[in-house]
Symmetry: C2
Subunit: 236 residues, 2 copies
Amino acid sequence: MTANTIYQHGTLGLLVPGLFEGTITAGELLTHGDTGIGTLDGLNGEVIILDGHAYQAREDGQIREIDATETMPFASVHFEQPDVSVDVKGLSQAEFEQQLLTEYQLENVFAAVRVTGTFKHIKTRVAPKQTRPYQTLVAATTKQPEFEGDNVTGTIIGYYAPHLFQGATVGGYHLHFLSDDHQLGGHLLGFDIDQATVKVQRFADFKVHLPIDNAAYLQEKFDNQAIDTAINKAER
Amino acid sequence: MTANTIYQHGTLGLLVPGLFEGTITAGELLTHGDTGIGTLDGLNGEVIILDGHAYQAREDGQIREIDATETMPFASVHFEQPDVSVDVKGLSQAEFEQQLLTEYQLENVFAAVRVTGTFKHIKTRVAPKQTRPYQTLVAATTKQPEFEGDNVTGTIIGYYAPHLFQGATVGGYHLHFLSDDHQLGGHLLGFDIDQATVKVQRFADFKVHLPIDNAAYLQEKFDNQAIDTAINKAER
């Protein structure tokens, strides 16, 4: 595994019908990368992985470090080795996302995005822990706690993926956030950059690892159209 | 790279708008696997890779070995190490495909399929070489030479992929054929097994390598719906 590969365990698609059971340990996942995002067994919150440490943003707003034995149904990681590092000031989310797409020609490329600095505003949401029998992703995420902060110092981490890979992953941007003081985190719904350092890493290789020994995964009847609709609803 | 990974260069999706330029050499491709399928620069025929040798089935019906310096826009390879090897007799294509899906629970799994033996009937088609400016895949494959044979001895090689990955690759079966005497080959349209040995290799890992330094690839505006429709039309 090199710095030129994103390693993804599972698919976003498998979350859609409710396959929330963890099928890789955090310990094993971290052998494939030191940076990334994911969710825990039971869709229990949002995972943020920075510098080899995995954190969970919980639905109660608390942030904690994840043990190596905890499991995840879906996660993406890579070894951080950015191609570029630039300082930016006063950018809205829309400006930032468009600027990255254009400057680094990301449209059809997998890339990791890391933004470290101060944010005028941050808004996150956190998936609430589910219990068996699991509902669908859309049902599970209809009501989610949201968290907001002004003048927050922290890190946005996540990926841009070509839209062709919608279903296997999230087509477009999929970003999580963790504040430096670990008081605010989760799936990023909105942000406004005050000043920050942006690091972009483009990947030639995207490696998907599937849970091919998990009975529920093997038996599931997936529906591509339903997956596309659900991702657009639940992961934006 | 292990026997547990399919390595794919490019996507089926990039062929749809006509990105037929070769972006990996056969020599480099073969470092990622000894068995597989693909197409050559300019959509020039069908590629069959067996035991570390890559062959081209040409539109004129000839089969030739490919040089290490020739390039491909799309190809999938793996190192052959089958999980199972079973002998079968008297199976239609529909029976064979359904039997494999059920017995090895392939529905949501990437798998390589190799069938060596005698076939009551084989029908192939071969994509005709294109010249610039390239047309779309559907336009390029509207008229394709077809080839047929009875009581043919040879090898079917190809993949089953989960339908979630339609676009990145062909969802479902994607099989090519090469006769032992190299007189008949191509993309498999139909077959009827007399007696054969079937080898199945399931993969936990699917690795896609994208041509992220190719200007035409970076600039293309892909359309997922058009890609899905075109694959169902051109690759079945």
